[in-house]
Amino acid sequence: MPPWQIGIIGGGPGGLLTARMLEHQAAVPPSITIFEASDRLGGKVLTQRFETLPVAYEVGAAEFYDYAEIDEDPLKQLVEDLGLPIQVLGGSSLIHGDRLVGNLDDVRETLGSEAAAALVDFHHLGRDRLSPREFYDALPVPQLDGPVGSSFETLLAAIPSPATRRHIERFIHSDLATEPTHTSRRYGLENYLMNDPAYMQLYCIAGGNEQLIAAIASRLAARIRLQTPVLSVGSVADGRLAIDVAAGSGRQQHLFDAVVLALPIEPLRQLQFGGERLQAAMQQHIAHHDHPAHYLRVSILFDKAFWRGHWDDAYCMLEGFDGCCLYDESARDPAEEHGVLGWLIGGESAIAWSQRSDEAVIQTALDALPAWLREPAQRHRLEARVHRWIGAVSALPGGWQPLPLDRRHQPEPTDHATLFTVGDYLFDSTLNGVHDSAEYVADWLASLMLERPGSTV
């Protein structure tokens, strides 16, 4: 009996993880084809090297979330199973002016006792409203999810100390990748609480996160077709699904028993769907999930990590760009002798600054450093890069209700029951989210293959 033919559109983490899980979970491994429009796999997981020196830095996804403290963490398990070295990332400070504010004592000294008390109150409020278990299981919390229109801003507005409010806003701005008014209370709170180790910790893969992509791809039996943009998806008369891809100046059609759309919202929007029903369903799907959030990344190579001894965390927050995250990229690889700093700019600032020239962005990033870093940064700077991720993630606006899991992953269940969607935007815009999404679809497809063994193609 011929195996199922499965087409996966998108060679990012979602597509690759779905392919891996299908190959592992299906009783009879299906025949999988992965279509990737670009010349590389990995999507938003992208590690690059500078031209001046071959020093690695993260262009895309900066870190993985470690939930192992609460419960199983399948993504971390996968990273470990693949034998990839893990580097824990730690940091808790925000630079106010030229001063590192790393703990409550610093807050008290810098912002005053009232601000410190307000920060403690906010932290307790956050923990009371969303426990680590609720955070992990993404369980609904009615009083937190709130009515339509209740954004994270409403929570921040209740903080009595303006200094504390500003401190928190700056602290989580780059993680939110949007403004508090544009995201839900829950999502905002999650991004604040994730700094508490009881909720999660951060880690990366020493030597570059993209190693995960390479490790997964090298273990796949699937056919991978790079530089093969998919033009349209639709069903044919017997219920099979057809994928049209660009082939030279024309198009080529491939038939599949099932198709997985593992694409972010923007590429999904550009895809053509056959049949009115599918078109309508996909428009609805895209409209429901289209809440773009934005990133801008600035990475600068220095001839040495001159900040060591003054600042030894893996990251801290800066006040510039309404709050951005400063990574010590060179802390990700203990063997690295040179220094790399990375600025993660999110939200409206990212959109605003993405219009500006690279040099302007770089200069502003350097200006955002405290005085004790700014001067040596100019002296030791070797090379700088800017990467723009506009609309790359989902902001999860306030009052927005996620669809049931089945509907999230099967946009049109009537005539296109074997057309699935996978993506980080279906969960929380993280790598862990895309892993959950891929696992859900792979389980579903595996059970379908058990019910109806053999391909109809």
Binding site: G102, N103, L104, D105, D106, H123, P197, A198, G309, D312
Partner: protein, 259 residues
Amino acid sequence: MTADSSPDSTPAPGIPAGVPATSRVEMLPTAAGSSHALLLVPRTGDESPDAAEVLHRWVAETPVSRPRHRIELPILLRLYNVDLVWSPSRSAAFASEERCASIREALTDFTNLEAELTAIEDGITAAWPAYEADLPYAYGFSDASFSVRDTLLARYGTVKSLQGRLARLTKQITQPAPQPPTLAGQIGERLRERLRVEERDEAADGELEVLSDHYDACGQRASDFMIARRENMLSWTIIVLLATETLLFAIDLLSNAGT
């Protein structure tokens, strides 16, 4: 972990030259038999650039090392607005006056915790040769092993005591740091990380489990042996008495037959 609430009677060392006059040395409340001096140097803003080096030298005057874990001492910790040098018997902090209470609290807790962990590790190290010698008793017990029962009991007690101490210590080691992070919590966390306290705790726990399993097995064997021995003794006593009785009858019969 226990710490004397009263200050240690060990005289406090002098303040080194090169630090501001407002500096002071305090003796931290530590467990009986040990002492820890803390040099607190208030940050004034006009301190000399080598002030941290002076603190390091002062702490390094007491040569205490942790060679078993290949940890270089003293440990230099640069936290947010606090410079800290720590060794098991001395530490020094360079911080604003407002931070001193937090620093003292964190260092007292950590120093006592680390000292207790080291004492437990020393106890474990001392227990290994006896463990090797006692291995046969975990498999079987005999009359020849009878005399070692008290020794085994004492070793069992030592191991269980170490295990109890470690269990109480583990509770402190694994308890999460307060959130939002405080300076005291961060000092404790960083020092625990630098002194590899969690790994050492796990290693000690693993070693104690081996020792404990071994002496549990010895205890079981000894207990089984004692029960069997008591039954055996009773059986043999009866057999010997019966045999004697039979022999007496036989001799009586032979004696009568002779006459």
